[in-house]
Amino acid sequence: MLNEIGKQIEQSFAGVSAETGGEYRLKVEADKESVLSILGFLKNHSYDHLALISCVDRIEAGQLELVYLLNSYMESDDRYGEREKGTIILKTTVSREDPEIGTAIHVFQNAEPYERELHEMFGIDFDGHPRQIPLFLEKDYAIPPFRKDFDTRDYVEKELESIPAVED
């Protein structure tokens, strides 16, 4: 099942590589311009559950790696088949200095909070997202907090521990 989807993706889109790895896992690597059309293609072929949008900071290569995880809801109400067991991992890379990519909201409605969190934690700009305002954080940080060059122990030492105690 996952093998056929992989071959169809390789035939329909240029510059894409798909390989199966482990039980029920398919890994697809693409460049950032074709990601949205691959997501639409997979949604039409019944992989319509966007589980997670995540990001990994590859600091040696100077890139941020975006990961989209897709599963399949059941088609009929009480039959559990092979297709629902599989997960498709779709990866792309953006540069660390100027990260930007188009938003996936028009394909999957629940992509909105994931992209908002990645904007404030990694600094990625999603073109066309309606509200890229802070979700969790209260203060502004010079480097986005989840990148590898932000040292959290250093930050606690300098900013939070330096506040004096009140003498009692």
Binding site: R25, V67, D77, Q109
Partner: protein, 377 residues
């Protein structure tokens, strides 16, 4: 609630902006919602998370693989067992560690007890929100009996650190299965009283039927899992779709309802609680002999081979997943939790509150099982 600003929209209506804030009698957990109301009806709701953000995923990159276990169970304070299980399975899949047969059954029994305790906590929260204090006291008492079992097995009431890569940390004590059966008989014997007092009560039906309806197409579009989907008739449960532990070795059923409103979601919770109790009896009857732990060599000096893995399981709130990346060292390179309350609390809640009345905000939020520490991590 504080009144932040008023705008006179027309002569007959005024639009107010209210803060259903963190300090509120009807809020369980530290979460806030900003409401734009007109009279008594909500026109727009905005969820405001972030009061419990600790930056778990960054903290886990500074500690060894084995030092992360006490941290991981605090992501969801109400059901810590499923967090330990998902992290253990992620590490086992990357490192290729096998689990013995008896350990799979023990893990499943422990997870089902955890699920029953979490559903009883949810029942306390929901009936407290509606004002049924009798049923909330009963539910909290029965959950305390299950916590006594946990204290005998692992030493702690709330945080256990029991599931470990390679099995579980210690076996059942002498005649522990008999004590499990006694406790479950006591809880099961009280179910007719719960039915008569709460679930068949006319007041509960009037307050919960037709409120906060999410139909199947909307739930699929917004990434809903767990009770939000099962209340619309779809039997999507990770324990059947991609089985783990000992769930494919006992016969059991996935309970569903049809309508998709708050009443259906709470009735699905009740049916799941009863199904969990039956499943524990069946698992105890088939428990095999053997060891419960495949001891790995020196976990403090582990180096897990490079790679990535995505594992998922069914917690009491929905589909819980973990994306784990390793670069071959003794610390994780990237950890990302896919928690079920994230789409429910941020996307589904804003959709379900449109057009409802102010007095139903807590009702809808608790029936969607929104757990604030899971959203913020």
């Amino acid at each position: 609630m504080e009144i932040l600003n008023e705008k006179a929209v027309s002569d007959s209506t005024r639009e107010l902006e209210l803060y259903f804030g963190p300090q509120h009698q009807g809020m369980v957990g530290n979460f806030s919602i900003t409401l734009k109301v007109e009279g008594d009806r909500i026109k727009e709701a905005t969820a405001n998370p972030g009061y419990l953000h600790r930056g778990f995923e960054k903290l886990m990159e500074y500690r060894n693989w084995i030092q992360n276990f006490p941290l991981v169970c605090r992501v969801n304070v109400i059901e810590p067992g499923s967090m330990e299980m998902v992290y253990s399975r992620g590490v086992e899949r990357l490192a290729g560690i096998e689990v013995p047969e008896r350990a799979k059954y023990v893990r499943s029994i422990y997870l089902e007890l955890s699920r029953a305790a979490s559903h009883l906590f949810g029942l306390w929260a929901y009936s407290n929100m509606l004002g049924f204090d009798t049923v909330s006291n009963w539910a909290m008492y029965h959950r305390d009996l299950i916590l006594d079992l946990f204290e005998e097995l692992t030493g702690g009431r709330v945080y256990h650190i029991y599931i470990w890569p390679g099995g579980v940390r210690r076996d059942f004590p002498e005649s522990f299965p008999d004590r499990i059966r006694e406790t479950l008989h006591e809880i099961g014997g009280k179910v007719p009283d719960y039915n008569n007092t709460f679930f068949n009560n006319r007041i509960f039906h009037d307050r919960a039927k037709g409120i906060g309806t999410i139909n199947r197409a909307e739930a699929r579009n917004m990434g809903g899992t767990g009770q939000v989907l099962r209340a619309t008739g779809m039997k999507y449960d990770i324990r059947k779709v991609e089985p783990y532990g000992a769930y494919d070795e006992v016969p059991w059923d996935v309970p569903t309802r049809e309508d998709g409103d708050a009443y259906s979601r709470i009735m699905v919770v009740r049916d799941e609680l009863i199904e969990s109790v039956h499943m524990i009896f069946k698992l105890l009857d088939r428990l095999p002999e053997g060891s419960v732990y495949n001891r790995p060599a020196n976990p403090f000096k582990w180096k897990i081979p490079a790679g990535e893995s995505y594992v998922r399981l069914e917690s009491s709130r929905g589909e819980l997943g973990l994306y784990l990346v390793s670069d071959g060292g003794n610390r994780p390179y990237r950890v990302h939790f896919r928690t079920p309350s994230y789409p429910h609390g941020l996307t589904v809640l804003e959709e379900a509150l449109k057009g409802e009345s102010i007095s139903d905000v807590g009702n809808i939020m608790m029936s969607l099982y929104v757990t604030a520490p899971e959203i913020d991590r």
